[in-house]
């Protein structure tokens, strides 16, 4: 199983992260100074690291504005800042994952894979656990169909 994290390259605008920061300020929370957004994909199947890198570079990241990290297994937290991670709950249809699985086959990688998609929000600044929960529930996760983890 590989986890592929996508991030905005230095020098390019992280529109989603800036939008989330603006929403955080909009609900009256102060202390968070910056948000970095990173979509991620968990690819489960009989693929090797070279194939995972091909999937990341050719399919999941934009060659101009985005970079990627490919890790074996789910990625451990390395940042000292809190991360809010949002994923679909078990049993909820993840339509993007279906498109990714189709596109992996189009790339010529014909092995069967299972894909999960998620979103990571790296928060810079000060925020208590209560505030992080509030940000997750009010802005980042639809808790009917999504679950979130604060790392």
């Amino acid at each position: 199983m590989f986890e592929i994290d996508i991030f905005t390259k230095e020098g390019f605008k992280d529109s989603r992260g800036e939008h989330v920061l603006s929403d955080i300020l909009g609900i009256g929370i102060k202390g968070v100074k910056k948000v970095d957004y990173s979509p991620f994909y968990i690819i489960d199947g009989d693929i090797n690291k070279s194939e995972a890198k091909t999937i990341a570079s050719e399919l999941l990241s934009d060659k101009i504005t985005e970079g990627f990290k490919v890790g074996f297994g789910t990625q451990e937290k390395k940042s000292k800042n809190p991360i809010i991670e949002v994923l679909y709950k078990k049993g909820v249809t993840d339509t993007v994952s279906e498109s990714v699985a189709k596109a992996i086959k189009d790339l010529g990688i014909t092995k069967d894979v299972k894909v999960k998609t998620g979103h990571k929000y790296y928060l810079h600044g000060n925020a208590s656990q209560d505030v992080l929960n509030k940000i997750a529930v009010k802005l980042l996760a639809n808790t009917l169909v999504q679950e979130y983890k604060i790392k």
């Binding site: 390019f12 605008k13 101009i64 504005t65 339509t95 596109a103």
Partner: protein, 261 residues
């Protein structure tokens, strides 16, 4: 007289194919909407057509990034045919999602290269931007556009935009210089008077306000605005148009049909 045939390539999530078909038919072409699976089954069918159009919409739900899944599919399953068609000099157009597909498979800005060297990224606002905008037609070749699709247009036209990922970014400054030098920039967002606009008339934050580009030869054209949505003056909010009846989109599609004739 020869009937010009246009192929409009559609897939799951395409939603501007009927309007694009109607636009070509209004210009006396025979236009057919062809599903990508049908073209993959019979790849040489593409050469039965004179014009190739990638219409707007939300192919594969805009999953991963707009146009990415379709660009990947076309490049890996139809790449050499699409490249051959494009290099033959026949007109090719990508509108909105179609422009994103052309850029992400690398057919623009240069089909010989056929590598992605520019992108259409998220709007600076991180929102879907939908409105009428002004476009400045670049006329650097004998006071005319280098692109076969945009001859005979006035300096400033209006067209509607509707997209979430329309911010054009070239890989580096050198490419931007080349696009300028080779007259590959076709449209820039502008004010009504041709000045550099601010948001919301600049809807996405594109580098140098770029709204549409073509290849060096001028036969492959990609643009974020929707010319197929402005064929009649009646489609404009103020009922503006030319000859009292038509919108600027009519000239764009007619140019391609006349070029083939």
């Amino acid at each position: 007289m020869k009937k010009v045939k246009a192929l409009i390539l559609r897939t799951a999530g395409t939603n501007c194919d009927y309007e694009t078909q109607a636009a070509f038919e209004m210009c006396s072409a025979v236009a057919e909407r062809v599903h990508i699976n049908s073209l993959i089954e019979n790849k040489d069918k593409i050469f039965e057509y004179d014009i190739l159009a990638f219409p707007g919409g939300f192919s594969y739900g805009d999953d991963i990034a707009s146009g990415k899944v379709l660009a990947n599919e076309i490049k890996n399953k139809l790449g050499d045919k699409i490249k051959k068609f494009s290099l033959s000099g026949k007109p090719v157009i990508g509108i909105c999602n179609g422009f994103q597909v052309l850029v992400k498979m690398g057919l623009l800005p240069e089909p010989k290269l056929f590598e992605q060297v520019s992108t259409l990224s998220y709007n600076d606002s991180d929102k879907f931007e939908c409105r009428w905008v002004y476009l400045k037609t670049e006329k650097k070749v004998k006071n005319e556009s280098n692109c076969i699709w945009t001859k005979n247009l006035p300096d400033i036209i209006t067209l509607p935009v509707a997209h979430g990922e329309g911010k054009f970014i070239p890989v580096n400054f050198k490419l931007l210089e080349e696009l300028n030098k080779n007259n590959q920039i076709v449209f820039r967002y502008s004010t009504r008077n041709g000045a550099i606009p601010e948001y919301p008339l600049a809807p996405n934050g594109s580098v140098e306000q770029i709204a549409g580009i073509c290849n060096t030869k001028g036969n492959i054209f990609g643009l974020m605005p929707h010319p197929e949505r402005y064929m009649f003056a009646l489609q404009h909010p103020a009922r503006e148009g030319f000859d009292g009846e038509y919108g600027w989109g009519k000239i764009i599609f007619q140019n391609a049909v006349d070029f083939v004739k």
